[in-house]
Amino acid sequence: MARCSICGKRAVYISRALAKGYCKKHFLEYFDRKVRRTIRKYRMFSEKETIIVAVSGGKDSLALLHYLVKLSKRVPGWTIKALLVDEGIRGYRETTIKDFLRVAGELGVEYRIVRFRDELGYTLDEIIEIGRRKKLPYHPCSYCGVFRRYLLNKAAREMGGTVIATAHNLDDVIQTYLMNIVKNSWEKIVRLGPVSGVTGHPRFVRKVKPFYEILEKESALYAVLNNLYPKFVECPYAQQSMRWYLRKHINKLEEMYPGTKYSMLRSLLRIIQLLEDKTDKIIEGEIRSCRICGEPASHDLCRACTYRLELGIMDENGNIIRDIDTGASGNQLSR
């Protein structure tokens, strides 16, 4: 029987990288210590904050919401609110919303759900079909990522948020790091730190990642042990992404060489540090305001408006163009 290195009880978690075992009680203490250290080290929150937790209904974001709500009981100046962006992915998002509502109810946390369909005029499924028909070169995850970040920032600001907390864990971060090495996207790598965000734009809400040093397995275990683990469903688009392949390979590497993931995170932090004073050369131009929507943009238009114009779902004045045929059940959209 594998035992807890602290008390000798049956272990629920073994860290081969740290050569330690933890029982339930000591795993939860280890988890709490690790997250609090990350929050402190990177100065994620001040004493007075309205923290908007970005949730999907997946285990990581439910774990983060649960964790921060508990932590906030000890910090009188904190208000926690949850924000879920519903892209409209049939057969996927409905399930995770149910899990989110259950946990939000149990925690008694204030929340808001914003929908692609309401804000952009179309669901992600419809957007992907429009993009395919127009032969646009974008991957489903590109539309999803751009529009999700856009709506997250906008809605968080409207909710009075002073900071957005996302549930990105160590695995997510190093996968993104590798993807951007492959794509030679150093401007994205310098933004992969635990605290990100363009601070110079009045419409930008700062983003933090309290689970930056937490392994995906640890956040899943936290969710299981706290009865938060949602019904397991996979995004139908996920397997089309490079991330999906990289994740498998990194996990196999970790199994063969324990500590690989921590080492990759250190590599990322080091490169961000080395690149910091060269940021001007890596990120071109100043931060601006989008000519159409006024949101932060690195060019004349923000990415969300660029995509919407290319898709033909919005005009130059920012008005939604409705009733585009996406071929979904017959000629017109069934929504």
Partner: protein, 68 residues
């Protein structure tokens, strides 16, 4: 005796014989699963992958990879 391994909420299920005395780590490896990707429950109790499997154990796996 049969040991059953199932990935929760899916129809992925294995019925294994002759595995008593092996660790969960060894069993998962033998059916081609990556240990890093699952939280493990045995007969309803969360355990580590270094546990030794007993007769008629029911192993439930919780995928740790996020759905998307």
């Amino acid at each position: 005796m049969t040991v059953i391994v199932r990935i929760i909420d899916t129809d992925k299920i294995w019925q294994l014989t002759g595995v008593s005395g092996k660790t969960i780590r060894e069993i998962l490896k033998s059916i081609g699963l990556i240990i890093e990707e699952y939280v493990i429950s045995r007969n309803g109790e969360i355990v580590s992958e270094d546990e030794i499997v007993g007769e008629d154990d029911y192993i439930t796996l919780y995928p740790v990879v996020s759905g998307g």
